[in-house]
Symmetry: C2
Subunit: 221 residues, 2 copies
Amino acid sequence: MSDASTESAASSRIAQALRDDILNGSIAPGQRLRQEDIAERLGGSRLPVREALRILAAEGLVQIEPNKGARVPLLDPGEVETLYRMRERLEPLALSESMAKLSSADLAEISEIQRRIEQGVDVTEFLILDREFHMATYTGCSDEHLMLSVVRLWNSTQHYRRAFMSLTGSGRAQIVNAEHRLLMEALERRDAEDAELYLLGHIRRTRKELVRHPEIFSTGS
Amino acid sequence: MSDASTESAASSRIAQALRDDILNGSIAPGQRLRQEDIAERLGGSRLPVREALRILAAEGLVQIEPNKGARVPLLDPGEVETLYRMRERLEPLALSESMAKLSSADLAEISEIQRRIEQGVDVTEFLILDREFHMATYTGCSDEHLMLSVVRLWNSTQHYRRAFMSLTGSGRAQIVNAEHRLLMEALERRDAEDAELYLLGHIRRTRKELVRHPEIFSTGS
DNA sequence: TAGGTTGTTATTGGATCCAATTTATGCCAC
DNA sequence: GTGGCATAAATTGGATCCAATAACAACCTA
């Protein structure tokens, strides 16, 4: 997901494993992460686990309380709404920084991902492909600070996006596909203004749908 | 600076000390941070130092390379420009989220900070007060994700802001004061639209001034 | 029986020690 | 004299052990 090159072997490996578990839903928000359990399950001692937890805390994927341990944060609707508002501001910027450097090969790959989205409608698969689609549109953005922030925002809201998709099914697939198509077309025209606008609308509409379904935020435990 | 409550005693204490050293310029960009030196200087073993370095890495204040240690990142003009573009997008959002909850006491404090800025023109003092001014305008923003991002952006660019101020002196003080006054007046009118606009202009003008002075980014060593 | 208190257990935080990797230094060959 | 290579010193990464703090449970008292 994020830059694995900046971390050492064991810490990075454990962080990646935990990140995958959190993002694919194996570890749910609110769940506590005991250091010894993780060390035993993933191999290694508690020390790299502690460092891995700090890495994840940096990404907002876990919350560390002194002497109380780490847990996956439970977000309330207001927090998720703000995270989406941040996406609305930052991702159009990433897109505009990216667009100029997108090669035709990049555009072809984006198109291919969208083609696959329009075929398979599995919820799990959609979450992966939708993320790949948007990240592919940002490949030209070379600024790592900006991209780290964007990835953080996606990671922090991943669980609620999945909860929303599981709840509503793929009924909105047509709308999403239309928005993606418009975005792609603007990218091919190299029209940054339009691309930013379509992306903003896409994220904003999703935010409004999310806040209309507060049942997503029930703990469920 | 950021939330000290989420970290344990020693790690948090060391991280705070290092953060202060980096932000006030005692530790310059490019400088390497040897774990044992820090442990000896600030007390404690290398372990809490390692955790502190991870905390700072999360905030973008240091860069960790596996088996090579931590150093304060050296930013190029393009990176700083993007960080400022991110500020232009995020801080107006923080301001609009904050404004509704700003009490008249908050507004009085903001006014008091600005009054002090207009008196003392010391560079070091200005950097502190200017930061206090803007953070005071965000006190009503309760979303910690957004505020963490904003603080990160300020921290990452602090060194270059100081370099710029040291270079140009306080010649631009009148412009900054005018912008601050306009912003304050919009806040008092509870006009979110105007406040966002003035803030955007304030940050954007600063960005343009920064990129016009590439000599700020010379290593100097 | 309910509430508070105390003692026990479980979990995290910190220190020291050892291994692995990198970087610096000096030597040799060309 | 310069470039490459080997060796040695320095520095970081990881594991185990011990201490401190918090969660938990049982007990006692009102």
